[in-house]
């Protein structure tokens, strides 16, 4: 074991030394978990196999740690060397825990002191989705729009860069990704008309190297001669302006609050853009580029290689920011560089990640808003009967605004060749009502009310056969499965539920093998690492919240079903199952 670990460390060093030459894989040492998705391919697969279906029933709590904030805990703990780094929701405390000592005591705490104002404008609870470790530093973002590098050994601030303007409603909730000497960060706030961007900062200084806007002229979007999208509909000059009326692109959304992947061979980063904003679809005729889609870019200068729009002229708040899992697989008989993306619009997209061609788009949930994807043109086929219209109530819109699945990341096991997708099963009615009360201005608004989809359950954990384009097995849950998934080499898969169960299931069959009740609902990202004692550990944060759990973490009134943009209606019974919380749990075999 120790030799393996030492080898791992050596490999890391070589990779870092060679990084300047480009295209080297930054594979983490097998026992570590240095970034939210563990690897640049976003697999969330741990090569540790000590915990198996045969012994997982013996899994025991080793230690737990209070996060000090009882808000939605969406972060992934990160483990490098003998230290775990974990970040709390606003006010975004960063903790370093010493794994060499019993009960993993605190090594240091870093308090970034974000502006309190950020709480008022964050759309969906005060979450933070995790940090990234590289080069002896921990990179974190704060809700009020700052990116900060912290010295991993001492907990001292190395640099901080203010990236967004909280006054405009701009926040940061996503987990950054480090690619060589740059840390990539994107913004949130499309609901408030914030224009989306992805920024690359120098890991040493925090200086901005490039910024790629999601709307506007090609020079802002970093579209140049290298831009070669697969589909005709993505080609043309300044589409980030011309597919919008007037100046609407300046408040056009397309935020970058989800996951970023990186393929070191192709030297391309992949990330999705959020819904167009801010006003109703009829005020922004056009495709609204480059929102609700995916970019492939060169990390060195940010130049775009290709783009594909999942939901052109998005009608239903279907952000395109979900994870992109990079897989090298046989596709219809020949090896292919694939990108797999379960989208909010309800389809699992399989794409050629070098060209941006859509190879398959199969529904993983009940869908009424669209009728498939035309694989020739790449166009999503909208169902006109589900389009929102002023003065009309539209019933049974499926999937809902948070989508067939939202941010909660899936995991891939190369052993079972299955993608484990945590998601929801929800539909909604959008009702037009006369007035609301913002700044004294009457207006006609739309309220959404979400409810369980067919079958009556609100959450699902699905094992998806990527090559076959269909479900292998699934587990129904009472509430949306708002936690991430973890796959392991022991063929045990982990996820958590909003009513507070941390579960281990058989990766091949979906049979539940073990569960543990936590103090609050789980919406975090499970991770696995090897401790200093050589054993395999599994860690998860509990603490319900986020958009789905706002009824508990935000203390919303269940009688107002339209609160949290209609999500409260579907979650009225959540307070009966769980209270607020904020605690890290770490498990191992005895």
């Amino acid at each position: 074991m120790d030799i393996m670990r030492a080898l791992g460390a050596v490999c890391m060093t070589i990779v870092l030394a060679c990084a300047g030459a480009g295209a080297s894989a930054q594979q983490p040492a097998d026992g570590e978990w240095p970034m939210a998705a563990r690897d640049h391919a976003n697999t969330r697969y741990s090569p540790l196999g000590e915990i198996t279906p045969a012994n997982v029933t013996g899994l025991k709590l080793v230690f737990s740690f209070s996060m000090g904030v009882e808000r939605g805990q969406e972060a992934a703990p990160v483990v490098v060397g003998n230290t775990m780094y974990v970040v709390a929701p606003y006010p975004n405390f960063l903790y370093a825990l010493d794994l060499t000592r019993p009960q993993a005591p605190l090594k240091w705490t870093f308090a970034p002191n974000p502006q309190a104002k950020a709480q008022g404008v964050a759309c969906c609870d005060l979450v933070n989705r995790g940090v990234a470790f590289a080069d002896g530093k921990v990179f974190m973002n704060t809700l009020d729009g700052q990116s900060i590098a912290v010295d991993a050994a001492t907990g001292k601030e190395v640099w901080r860069t203010k990236l967004g303007d909280i006054g405009k409603g701009e926040t940061i909730t996503m987990a950054p990704l480090v690619v060589r000497d740059k840390v990539l960060v994107g913004n949130s706030g499309g609901e408030l008309g914030v224009r989306g961007w992805l920024v690359a900062l120098d890991t040493k200084t925090g200086k901005e190297v490039w910024r790629a806007w999601s709307t506007g002229p090609d020079r802002d979007v970093l579209i140049g001669p290298d831009f070669k999208p697969y589909y005709e509909s993505e080609r043309g000059k300044d589409l980030g302006m011309t597919t919008w009326p007037g100046q609407a692109w300046t408040v056009g959304g397309g935020n970058v609050w989800g996951w970023i992947s990186y393929d070191p061979q192709a030297d391309l980063v992949y990330y999705g853009t959020a819904n167009p904003g801010p006003w109703n679809p009829e005020q922004r005729p056009g495709a609204n580029k480059w929102t609700a889609g995916i970019f492939a870019r060169r990390p060195g200068d940010g130049q775009a290689r290709w783009f594909y729009q999942y939901s052109p002229h998005d009608l239903h708040d279907y952000d395109g920011v979900n994870e992109n899992v990079l897989l090298d697989l046989d596709w219809k008989g020949s090896p292919r560089k694939l990108l797999v993306h379960p989208d909010r619009n309800g389809y699992v997209y399989v794409m050629d990640r070098l060209t941006g061609q859509v190879l398959a788009a199969d529904p993983f949930v009940h869908i009424t808003t669209t009728e498939g994807v035309d694989l020739k043109t790449g166009q999503l086929k909208y169902n006109p009967r589900k389009e929102p219209r002023v003065g009309e109530t539209i019933r049974e819109i499926c999937p809902v605004s948070p989508g067939g699945k939202d941010w909660q990341p899936s995991a891939w096991s190369p052993r079972t060749r299955l993608l484990y997708i945590p998601h929801q099963n929800l539909c909604q009615d959008s009702e037009t009502y006369d007035v609301s009360y913002i700044a004294g201005t009457p207006y006609v608004g739309v309220d959404s009310k979400m409810y369980a989809g067919p079958g009556g359950f609100r959450g699902v954990f699905t094992a998806w056969d990527v090559q076959a384009g269909r479900k292998r097995w699934s587990i129904n849950e009472r509430f949306p499965v708002w936690s991430g998934a973890l796959a392991t080499a022991g063929d045990v898969v982990f996820y958590g539920t909003m009513d507070g169960w941390f579960k281990a299931v058989d990766a091949k069959t979906g049979k539940q093998l073990w569960q543990f009740r936590t103090e609050s609902g789980i919406i975090g990202q499970p991770v696995s690492y090897r401790g200093p004692d050589g054993k395999q550990y599994v860690a998860i944060l509990a603490g319900v919240g986020g958009w789905a759990g706002a009824i508990v973490s935000g203390g919303l009134d269940g009688r107002d079903g339209t609160a949290a943009k209609g999500f409260v209606n579907a979650m009225k019974d959540l307070p009966a199952y769980t209270g607020k919380g904020g605690r890290l749990y770490v498990f191992a075999l005895p």
């Binding site: 006003w279 007035v435 201005t441 009457p442 919303l556």
Partner: protein
């Protein structure tokens, strides 16, 4: 006797006076929730018309007035009436069902603000919309457009329409009126109370004219405004209704002071009581 009686009377009178003063002290304050910086409605310094109406109502009820300041953003009702921080909201749309409403005490409408001397807004016929630049408010939780914004879109005007966000530097309505004055846009379609106030304070002479929704448009352009109290607080609601009836002329005078455009209270347009 003649000397004692007056003493007794004086003592009694003093006691009664003291009691009365004490009773006034004990009258619970009328607690009003308002935005601390949202002219022309309310301002922490008391300079908004809702500040003045609140003062008038409190005086009429012989109750002290207490303010609770809260920005009118997401969760306003939950953080104010819902949290027990106050008893009254001075201006809510009469159809706003998150609170219990009084009878409406004024009705305003969306208006067109244009530069005086230029052609006024002439309706939503497509021919009238080309060649002019419009501004609309973006409001609500999802920053939807206002009813006139929807009407513009339905009639084909989108590229020549600018949306003004409620978030940002000062009220959207003020930025819109300034944009008309600066010739950045030609016509601002704004909610009346804000339009009247900001147009009066603009740098160049502006015209303010009520606008009507196009035929068949599903949303009204004019809305009645009432006071709002906690659901179930019918006692206070009834008291306020009495004050509003009794002080109708005074309230109208305050609204006139702030150039609030008003339309006939008896309007029976769809969607508003």
């Amino acid at each position: 006797m003649s000397s004692r009686c007056p003493d007794t009377l004086v003592a009694l009178a003093l006691a009664l006076a003291l009691h009365a003063a004490h009773a006034a002290d004990e009258a619970p304050p009328l607690r009003v929730c308002a935005d601390p910086d949202n002219l022309p409605y309310s301002q922490r310094d008391g300079s908004g018309f809702e500040n003045r109406i609140a003062r008038l109502v409190a005086d009429d009820l012989h109750r002290p007035l207490a303010w609770f300041w809260q920005e009118q953003r997401r969760g306003f009702v939950r953080k104010t009436l819902g949290a027990g921080e106050c008893d009254v909201l001075i201006g809510v749309p009469a159809g706003f069902d998150k609170v219990l409403r009084t009878r409406p005490y004024y009705r305003s409408t969306y208006v067109a603000v244009s530069r005086r001397g230029e052609p006024p807004f002439a309706g939503f016929a497509p021919g009238q919309l080309r060649g002019r630049r419009f501004g609309v408010q973006l409001i609500g939780n999802d920053l939807a457009a206002s009813p006139p914004g929807h009407a513009l879109a339905e009639n084909g005007a989108t590229a020549n329409v600018t949306g003004f966000l409620v978030y940002g530097d000062g009220p959207a309505a003020r930025r819109m009126v300034d944009a008309v004055a600066d010739k950045a846009i030609d016509v601002a379609l704004v909610w009346g109370p804000q339009a009247g106030y900001f147009a009066r304070h603009a740098a160049v002479p502006l015209a303010v004219a009520p606008i009507a929704a196009p035929a068949g448009f599903p949303a009204p352009f004019d809305y009645a405004i009432a006071m709002g109290v906690r659901k179930g607080d019918t006692l206070l609601r009834d008291q306020l209704d009495e004050v509003l009836a009794r002080r109708r002329a005074d309230i109208d005078a305050i609204l006139a002071d702030y150039a609030v455009p008003r339309v006939d209270m008896t309007s029976t347009r769809a969607g508003t009581p």
